[in-house]
Amino acid sequence: MIAYIIRRLLYAIPILIGVNVITFTLFFVVNSPDDMARVHLGVKRVTPEAIRKWKEERGYDKALLYNGAAAGAQAFTDTIFYEKSVKLFAFEFGRSDQGRDIGYDIGNRMWASLAIALPVFLLGLAAYLTFALLMAFFRATYVDFWGVVACVMMMSISGLFYIIGGQYLVGKLLNLVPISGYDGGANALKFLVLPVIIGVVSGIGASTRWYRTIFLEEISKDYVRTARAKGLSELRVLFRHVLANAMIPILTGVVVVIPLLFMGSLVTEAFFGIPGLGSYTIDAINSQDFAVVRAMVFLGSVLYIVGLIVTDISYTWVDPRVRFE
């Protein structure tokens, strides 16, 4: 098991190198640092002097890959690639284009993201599985039919409208909770209720339908018929047999996203003014802060790969047949 985890971690290294090369190409080769400086300083009326100064302040004035002027190993380390991309492997994110410490900001902001994403994830999973099991229980009846119709309707509505509608209904019309904002400690609760509810509701359509498909596929298998033939009640069949056997396809989709919960949701956080990593990314996009976007891309990939590894490990918990050699 430990050998397997180590091997998986080693596999992750070439993938992260690939991610790094892609982001480096995107951010420094497609457009030169000069172009970025020009966009930041305003395209018109920008002096070469100002560009030079902007690049120097942010450390973009070095050679891209190979610094011929420096001696020895410095020829490779005193470059943009080493300073900005290789150092990401040590989680040294450096400074944003505005001059703030990115690592510090990330450490500060991820808890707010988690405060929303984790409840949405847990409550959502419970709700979707319940609805899907109910629909599987009432399969081929009107409950099931209208349930599917409702799901298709709900998944055809853009997530933006759930947020706008929820804010209008609960925040403005009923005046139950503040529309947006955030506070530390226990005060955070009143700000979190609405985004969490909306997060859960907006996922009902697609997720419930997906889980229903999985359950129905399991229900048509032979072992379920055997269980019913033994005289087990339908509820017991559903919970003890179908749910347990449907865990593998469910886990595949679910466990991957757990580490990514730290990243938060871009749209939700922007709408509700939550100071998490999602709104951090949005602010960076809007102010064209390339350093922050670059750091978030790398962090997101790391978390995704961690999620993949955890998924594989989680299979052993639900399916004793899965062994890692």
Binding site: V39, G159, Q288
Partner: protein, 478 residues
């Protein structure tokens, strides 16, 4: 020439797509085994009704994809063309586009949404809601005539809708009757009893709803702003119509862009195995391990920088916005081909062990020929299902991306930009709700019909479901 045809990049690709679809349709018609699943799609009422609605959207989108620049003056024997690029839809909906108000006005309103200081005819000033320049401008006393005028126009529109529907329905019956060699009357009754093989009843009902709801809309749009106007006074109904093309372009061109990658790489990985498989797997694992939104955001940011620092490459605003739209499709395609490639790899891995492939090997058929003649046709159902399933997701993604600020150009009218600009209107009191409502309705209709159609296609093409069908039929009979 009174106009100059402009072919934008997305236009060219849309024409290409139309040609490809027509060729495929012709090919499918000639081969019974390919046509059979499509006949199954045509037998599902929901799918057919959704297809009818989608067809309407496609017609609007296609009309919006024929672009030209009108001439404004003739100088020294040379025609000077306007900087503005218009489309066929703009020409049809010219009144909607041209009748701009000053700022917000509610749906069907005759007065502006905000109070202004107006000069009274007898001298002096007053603060009141001024009359709109165009909306309901034909009314002498808007307060008294408004309700009756609206009702009259809506009724006339509905009546025209009913007549049009009857004409179309009878035409359809006549056509079916001629083909079947039966009476029009018989066919008509058979349709309403639901006895025709293709559920025409569903199509006719959809058509009736669309016409009876749509014609009053058009009748009212002639004199009013049916969905109100936005901040700069532009008609929201016109914006909704223009958004349709953007949604369709994103939903279809993205697929067109990603298909070659997914097909070639996915099938090759599964068929050749070995180092080819390793390399391709590495490529798509790396790409898919970057969270989609972030990769799109990074790529779009870089494209913005490129466009801003190279303004000389684009002669009109529309051309710039169009290239940005195309680039967004490419980026979305690059981030979304990995899922399909993975599916195709798995299928190709299975297929390459089949007897008929081994027989082909034994006969010395080349790899390329095996891939194109034997593997490709047998994975097409997966491709088709993936393509139709992706469409609605892409339309929804466009709205979110435009909201985040990494979507289409702000000058491109799309559902995302409509919602984005309506965001601030929410805070106003009383609320300006009509932009959101219009975007919501149009988007829901489009995505819902796409979802229903996708379900019908999946049911018909997915072999797992195909084997499950007879069981259910048997159960119903028993």
């Amino acid at each position: 020439m009174p106009f100059k045809i402009v072919i934008l990049w997305t236009d060219a690709l849309i024409y290409l797509l139309v040609v490809v679809v027509l060729l495929l349709a012709w090919h499918v018609r000639r081969h019974e085994h390919l046509a059979a699943p499509w006949r199954k799609v045509a037998r599902s009422p929901g799918g057919l009704a959704a297809a009818a609605l989608l067809a309407l959207f496609v017609v609007i989108g296609l009309a919006d994809s024929v672009h030209y620049r009108p001439s404004v003056a003739v100088k020294d024997g040379k025609t000077v063309y306007a900087v503005e690029v218009l489309s066929l839809l703009d020409a049809i909906a010219a009144p909607l586009r041209a009748r701009k108000e000053k700022t917000y006005s509610a749906p069907l309103a005759t007065r502006l949404f905000a109070k202004e200081t107006i000069e009274l005819p007898g001298g002096g000033q007053a603060r009141d809601y001024p009359r709109l320049k165009h909306g309901g401008a034909h009314l002498e006393q808007p307060e008294e005539q408004w309700a009756s005028d609206i009702a009259r126009r809506a009724l006339w529109g509905a009546a025209a809708g009913v007549v049009l529907w009857l004409v179309l329905a009878i035409l359809l019956c006549a056509l079916l009757a001629r083909r079947a060699g039966a009476d029009v009357d018989e066919i008509w009754r058979a349709i309403w009893r639901g006895e025709t093989e293709v559920p025409w009843r569903a199509v006719l009902v959809t058509l009736a709803v669309v016409l009876v709801a749509g014609m009053p809309l058009l009748a009212l749009a002639a004199k009013y702003h049916v969905f109100g106007t936005d901040k700069v006074g532009q008609d929201v109904f016109y914006q909704s119509l223009k958004s349709i093309r953007t949604g369709l372009v994103i939903g279809t061109l993205t697929t067109l862009v990603m298909l070659p990658f997914a097909l070639l790489l996915g099938v090759m990985a599964g068929y050749f195995k070995g180092w080819v498989d390793d390399a391709i797997q590495y490529l798509y694992t790396t790409l898919s391990s970057i969270p989609g939104v972030l990769l799109i955001a990074a790529a779009v940011l870089m494209m913005q920088v490129y466009i801003e620092t190279h303004p000389e490459l684009f002669d009109t605003v529309t051309a710039r916005a169009d290239l940005r739209l195309l680039f967004l499709c490419v980026i979305l395609g690059i981030t979304s081909w990995t899922g399909l490639a993975r599916l195709l790899r798995g299928e190709a891995l299975k297929l390459r062990e089949m007897e008929y492939i081994q027989a082909a090997h034994a006969f010395g058929v080349s790899h390329w020929r095996i891939l194109t003649r034997h593997i490709l046709p047998n994975v097409m159902h997966i491709v088709l299902i993936a393509v139709v399933m992706d469409f609605s997701g892409l339309v929804l993604a466009e709205a979110v991306l435009s909201y985040v600020g990494v979507g289409v150009d702000p000058s491109t009218i799309s559902f995302g930009t409509m919602i984005n600009s309506a965001r601030l209107e929410m805070a106003r009191d009383p609320m300006v709700w009509w932009s959101l409502a219009a975007a919501f309705c149009f988007m829901l209709l489009m995505v819902l019909s796409a979802n229903l159609f996708a379900d019908a296609v999946r049911d018909a093409f997915d072999p797992r479901i195909r084997t499950a069908r007879p069981f259910r039929l048997a159960a119903q009979k028993a």
